[in-house]
């Protein structure tokens, strides 16, 4: 592929997945600015793959993997501040885009509970229910069997449900 074609493809991929990758980062780090930086960084790393002529069969999967690794690095560098502390300090996770109060409260509640399940479970929940990825797509990202992924999604959702009941 010519370099100019590669650049064009890269920009098309950015347009298609920028919001999804940002969301993924946002729910991991609970900070809009950090999530923006992380999104930019993820696409820069993705460009390095493309530029070096590496075969990118599933850009979405690769981008999620890069973003996931960036989030893990971030967690390692700085033990995640609990969302409770962030909210107490005035952090507002919702974009306040006209949702009703009840919905915003639930939204906040889910955000508060998400860090209480494992990273893998968070990913499964976000990919399946926020990003609408099919179990097959998720299986491709994780390099696992579709059935295994379906079972794990179900378990992750049950865990979150239990947390909601007790909260």
């Amino acid at each position: 592929m010519e370099l100019n074609d590669t650049k064009k493809t890269f920009i098309d991929i950015y347009e298609a997945y920028a919001d999804a990758i940002f969301r993924h980062c946002f729910f991991k780090v609970s900070d809009r600015e950090r999530a923006q930086d992380m999104t930019q960084q993820a696409f820069m790393q993705f460009w390095t793959y493309m530029k070096d002529g590496q075969n990118v069969e599933n850009p979405k999967a690769l981008l999620y993997r890069i973003a996931g690794n960036l989030a893990i690095d971030w967690y390692r560098k700085k033990k995640a501040e609990s969302l409770d502390n962030l909210i107490d300090a005035g952090f507002e996770p919702s974009d306040s885009r006209g949702e009703n109060i009840e919905q915003t409260a639930e939204f906040k509640n889910v955000l508060r509970l998400l860090p209480q399940i494992s990273q893998d479970e968070q990913n499964l929940i976000l990919w399946r229910f926020v990003e609408d990825l099919s179990p097959k797509d998720i299986a491709e990202i994780l390099n696992e069997r579709e059935n295994t992924v379906s079972v794990r999604i179900h378990r992750a959702l049950e865990r979150l449900k239990d947390l909601m009941k007790t909260s």
């Binding site: 650049k7 919001d19 940002f22 923006q36 999104t39 919905q103 889910v110 229910f129 909601m164």
Partner: protein, 261 residues
């Protein structure tokens, strides 16, 4: 309950980067991959067309056209002291200057060309024996003024060349370790010296082949250096000529005052 939590999770999809930030990141990425961004290029064109330089150009062009082709032609032939001489130096040449590329080297070349033109004017005046004290003063001032401009333009060229060399060394420092980079830079700087040293070698064929391979390896650098040297020597010649003609003007002035006495 399951339905509820799924609904809540689905509502999370509304969280997005936002158009502003999406465009901002896109711009950074375009810079990173080295692709021209549409916004940047359109701004540049607009900015360029309405830059101060172009505005002066438009105004000068308008005045030049208004004055008409006769005036322009008359001005082209004008010599210091003539009625239309200021039109030549302050309008026509200003318009020409606007359309010279903005890089320091073409500008230095153009300013040098103007020094030559000033000298030719002085010579023409001298040949036509119309060198009155007043016109001589104007001619000399014009030569000095133009020589200053050329010198400034040349100084700019030198500054740009130096900063390019520095950038190159910084890039090398980034790519290689400090001792490697220093070694490469000094190797580049010594290439020309090596070639000169090799001229003293006894074995001419051997020397030529080594020269060829070295020149091939460093062809870009040598081409640049050669071009730079050519331009420097052109400018040097102009300045030498300028000094000669000023001296000549002074000698003639002394002769005439002696004759008058």
């Amino acid at each position: 309950m399951k339905k509820d939590i799924v609904t809540i999770l689905k509502s999370m999809k509304e969280v997005s980067l936002g158009e502003k930030h999406k465009t901002e990141i896109k711009k950074h990425l375009l810079d990173h991959i080295g692709a021209p961004s549409h916004t940047t290029s359109s701004t540049n064109w607009y900015g360029l067309l309405w830059s101060h330089q172009f505005k002066v150009g438009y105004a000068a062009l308008f005045i030049t056209l208004s004055l008409g082709s006769t005036v322009v032609f008359a001005a082209e032939q004008a010599l210091p002291g003539d009625l239309f001489y200021p039109v030549k130096t302050k309008v026509t040449e200003r318009v020409e200057r606007v359309f010279v590329a903005s890089e320091p080297e073409p500008q230095a070349e153009y300013e040098t060309k103007l020094v030559e033109r000033r000298l030719q004017e002085a010579e023409r005046l001298d040949r036509e024996e119309e060198f009155e004290e007043r016109t001589k003063k104007i001619a000399k001032e014009e030569i000095e003024k133009q020589a200053d401009k050329a010198e400034q333009a040349l100084a700019k060229v030198k500054i740009v060349r130096e900063s390019k060399k520095n950038e190159e060394s910084i890039q090398l420092m980034g790519t290689f370790s400090a001792p490697q980079a220093t070694e490469m830079m000094s190797a580049k700087m010594n290439v020309r010296q090596d070639i000169d040293d090799d001229d003293n070698s006894d074995d001419k064929e051997d020397r030529d082949s080594r020269d060829d391979s070295r020149k091939a390896r460093n062809s870009d650098d040598n081409d640049d250096n050669d071009n730079d040297d050519d331009r420097d020597s052109d400018l040097r010649k102009v300045f030498e000529r300028h000094e000669d003609i000023v001296k000549k003007l002074d000698i003639k002035k002394n002769n005439r005052s002696r004759e008058d006495r």
